[in-house]
Subunit: 165 residues, 2 copies
DNA sequence: CATTTAGTTCAATAATTTTTGAACTAAATG
DNA sequence: CATTTAGTTCAAAAATTATTGAACTAAATG
């Protein structure tokens, strides 16, 4: 079982890497998910991941800054503890979508810059508009989620098989 | 003007890097956007980007494979030409969202693996469901886009100022 | 069939990113 | 106020990823 958790932690490392974050950040996140306590100390994380203090220091800053973990401090205890952050569930997607806004800006800029008025130009307008539009749609979607969360979770729980890859 | 295009090409390189692709792929894409022809040869790209044949070879494969560029071949000409791909506009987002499905799977798996039944567990269920759900929503959104494209583009074109940055 | 053209492959190199580890700050404790 | 504890910073090392360049395939041309 502990071995399975170790494997899970490494799996998270690789997933995070694929999402453009660091492997160590993934490991730390995975550890926060499967560890047996609600929150764990810097040292526990360091020992669990067998990494240097410097590496954990940077990694935890990354996780806190991106909102994936939160620091916990306790009265009469000068250690810093960490737990996975339960807030702002839509933010990771929102942040990703903002990259598409940037892509849209870039496509539009490229269109302005080129010396031809052709099929490509039309497509660039279409593509950039698509990315702007989908960014805007997102806010509506996240609102829907907030309002109908309970209902949606029940639904997805009922037909679990339909959505498991 | 040509200098501005060069700068644009480099800007695309950096953007693509941020999106998790390679800088060279971004440069090549940028070049396809601002070049004065509809399609350009392998050699033109290589010369414009001052890169090696090997690098361009790999890069163009990447762009074609991810659907961002398409190869063009002409009768009586054994060169391969490339142009930006005008098809499958939603695919890039779809592909990105599929990463969230994977994230959802991983969160759920972590929940199953841990030895506590607590607040975190509820949150993990909520988070994984959110990512499954938003993946499903996307298909509907892309369908809406396909159906109302014209109207939406007009709308966004009319109030350009509201959406620039 | 030798040569040129078009592009691929892949080992070596360059560039970048991550991780370590040692020296440091800053707060608490004896 | 010296020592311990908690964590940070940053230069150097390790690991990873991208790019080059040379040798190669495969098709077309003379």
């Amino acid at each position: 079982m502990e071995n399975e958790k170790q494997m899970y932690i490494e799996e998270c490392g690789l997933l995070f890497e694929k999402l453009g974050l660091t492997r160590m950040a993934g490991r730390a996140f995975g550890y926060l998910v499967v560890c047996d306590e609600d929150h764990v100390s810097f040292k526990q994380i360091q020992e669990a991941l067998k990494a240097s203090k410097g590496s954990i220091s940077g990694t935890m800053k990354q996780l806190v800054q991106t909102g994936m973990a939160e620091a916990v401090s306790l009265p009469g205890d000068r250690k810093t503890y960490y737990r996975i952050s339960k807030i702002k569930i839509g933010d990771m997607i929102r942040q990703r979508i903002s990259q598409f806004i940037e892509l849209a800006d870039t496509l539009q800029k490229g269109d302005d810059l080129k010396n031809r008025e052709d099929e490509t130009s039309g497509w660039l307008t279409e593509a950039s508009t698509f990315y702007y539009w989908i960014g805007d749609q997102l806010d509506g979607i996240i609102k829907t989620w907030e309002n109908e969360k309970q209902k949606i979770i029940q639904q997805y729980h009922a037909n679990k098989k339909e959505h498991s890859t």
